[in-house]
Amino acid sequence: MTEFYITQRGTQKNTRYSRSKIWWKNFKHFIRELIKCRTAFMGAIIVLSFILVAILAPFIAPHDPLKASIIKRLLPPSWVNGGSTTYLLGTDEIGRDIFSRIIYGARVSLLVGLITVAISSILGTLLGTFAGYYKGRFDAILSRFADLLLSFPDLIFAIFLMAITGPGFFNLILILCFKSWVTFFRLSRGEMISEKTKEYIEAAQALGESDIKIIFKEILPNIVHSILVLATLRVGYFIILEASLSFLGLGIQPPTPAWGSMINSGRAFMLTSWWVSTMPGIALLVLVLSINLLGEGLRDILDPRLKLE
């Protein structure tokens, strides 16, 4: 299969293509492939809509998410008897509009997911590539530490640490990143080790290129696609993790709207007012589903060799 993506190792100084032109060509091709793959495209659109909605929350949400009204508590969604279109998806146990809270809740989920993945992917990839390239004691210690961290289930680890530090946004990000860099570390390290055995690295070394240059210019562009796929899938994973923690009361604290804590507060009213728990959950499901669709689609697009017939 021909290589669609022109990587940096094909660049020579006197070719017509400047580096920025190469990126633009690759990007255009990527967008074309994305549109062709219907599921990934749908996923991408939905995710982008969520992001947009989250950013524009103050303008889109019909009500103040924090405004409580005892009279208006536990109103059903608009299509059920007793509901009204003012409160599209109904109200929660202290009369706040669920629809608005879901919109604002998207902010929390997306922020946590994206920031955590951003930090842990950069950290993990940097550590992994250097560990894989240089090996030696640095690698051994890090790998042992990573294995140790991996012997904890994610949620239990997070619950444990949140219990000690107490809830809160920054604590949450810190704790999630504490363990999450490990997956990126392992991936980039593994890829680095296998890429390093390939001949173009030998060639670059023979040409006298410095190590740093080799890592960033030669190897990383070839590893980036698998890291990107992993990062996308991880966003969904961390969103669910955050929701689980908030559900237990250990994540984002009320009254800040967070889908997990909304689902939790609806538990007490499961028997009579099912919508309080169900609606935020549907939002969560749709967001994570689209992220996963996008991630899987990316996997197919960015590395055609992995595609199953």
């Binding site: 619950i159 669910i240 499961m270 169900t278």
Partner: protein, 336 residues
């Protein structure tokens, strides 16, 4: 020769568990927030003597190295400290709650295997058929839906609206069977207490599905993709040229090979089982270890939290050890 490999793995697990214990110890101490403060909560007036008494009780006045020593020695003796809330040995509290948690975890695992193995195999054998597409669709939903939400939705649909299953708890009090293992389903079978069996099963179904769904989804997908790869292999064609029936080719030759990577993934998934366990127990009012952890956190009962988390981590190590051993049996290339 296989025995040596197994022994090796067991031996490696021990320093791992030690390291886990130390990590927990360290984390508890370096994380911001004073534990005694937390334990006292915001209850206002507390005398200095009470604070000091607490510190002495939990050895917090001693130097860190001594604390560590006490901690580690305690673990070896099975002493995980005393619960602040109930003034009982932590280990006792944990031991009481192991059977229900074990029952739930095992039945979730069973559910996920019952669902994922046939669907995974059939999806691969009849690729792109209706079963394949439906199966993969459900699997995709399964990995995208959070377990706790699924649990709530299942309760709303099946327990509240349709009233098929009960909502909370493990069993109606009247039906409780004799205590043999502590696992109601097993005890009912052993004591031939059929009404108890029925009732305990009814209580067990919804939580098991909620907990096992995500695992089933992941397992189905990995099994399907391994099977697809294996079915393309030459040895599968050879098996057919030998005159084996298609059924034998799939189950004996293909499946055995496809299980190898699948088992590894199942091992990793057990972590999710253990974690999700806490949440599902909370939702369904299941009196297990998970619920204990959650309530202890809110009661600021740190010895219990510490002990339970350690127990979970160690269980994970042991579970992965078992999976490793199974893997060694399945893959002959490893033992030599």
């Amino acid at each position: 020769m296989k025995g040596i490999k197994i022994l090796e793995r067991i031996l490696i697990a021990i320093p791992t568990m030690l390291a886990i214990a130390m990590l927990i110890f360290v984390l508890m101490r370096i994380m911001p927030g004073d534990p005694v403060d937390k334990m006292m909560g915001k209850s206002g007036n507390i005398s200095i003597e009470e604070v000091q008494a607490l510190e002495r009780e939990f050895h917090l006045d001693l130097p860190i190295s001594v604390q560590l020593k006490i901690f580690l020695i305690g673990i070896f003796h099975g002493d995980l400290g005393t619960s602040f809330q109930e003034r009982r040995p932590v280990w006792e509290m944990i031991a009481e709650r192991i059977p229900p948690t074990l029952e739930l975890a095992l039945s979730a695992l069973l559910f996920s295997l019952i669902v994922s193995v046939p669907i995974g195999i059939i999806s691969a054998v009849k690729q792109n058929s209706l079963i394949d597409r439906l199966g993969m669709g459900f699997a995709f939903l399964g990995i995208s839906a959070p377990a706790f939400w699924l649990g709530i939705v299942l309760i709303i649909i099946f327990a509240v609206k349709l009233s098929i299953f009960p909502v909370y708890g493990r069993i109606a009090f009247a039906y409780k069977p004799i205590h043999i293992t502590g696992m109601y389903v097993l005890d009912s079978i052993l004591s031939r207490n059929w009404p108890a069996l029925k009732d305990s099963l009814m209580h067990l179904i919804l939580p098991s599905i909620s907990l096992g769904a995500a695992q089933a989804a992941v397992t189905t997908r990995i099994l399907r993709s391994s099977m697809l790869e294996v079915l393309r292999a030459d040895y599968v064609t050879l098996a057919r040229t030998k005159g084996l029936s298609e059924y034998m080719v799939i189950t004996k030759h293909a499946l055995r090979n496809a299980l190898i990577p699948t088992v590894t993934v199942i091992g990793l998934q057990i972590g999710m089982l253990l974690g999700g366990n806490m949440i599902i127990e909370t939702i369904f009012g299941w009196p297990g270890l998970g619920r204990l952890v959650v309530t202890s956190i809110f009661n600021r009962d740190f010895p219990v939290v510490q002990g339970a988390v350690m127990f979970y981590a160690l269980t994970y190590v042991v579970a992965n050890l078992i999976v490793d051993i199974i893997y060694t049996y399945l893959n002959p290339k490893i033992s030599f």
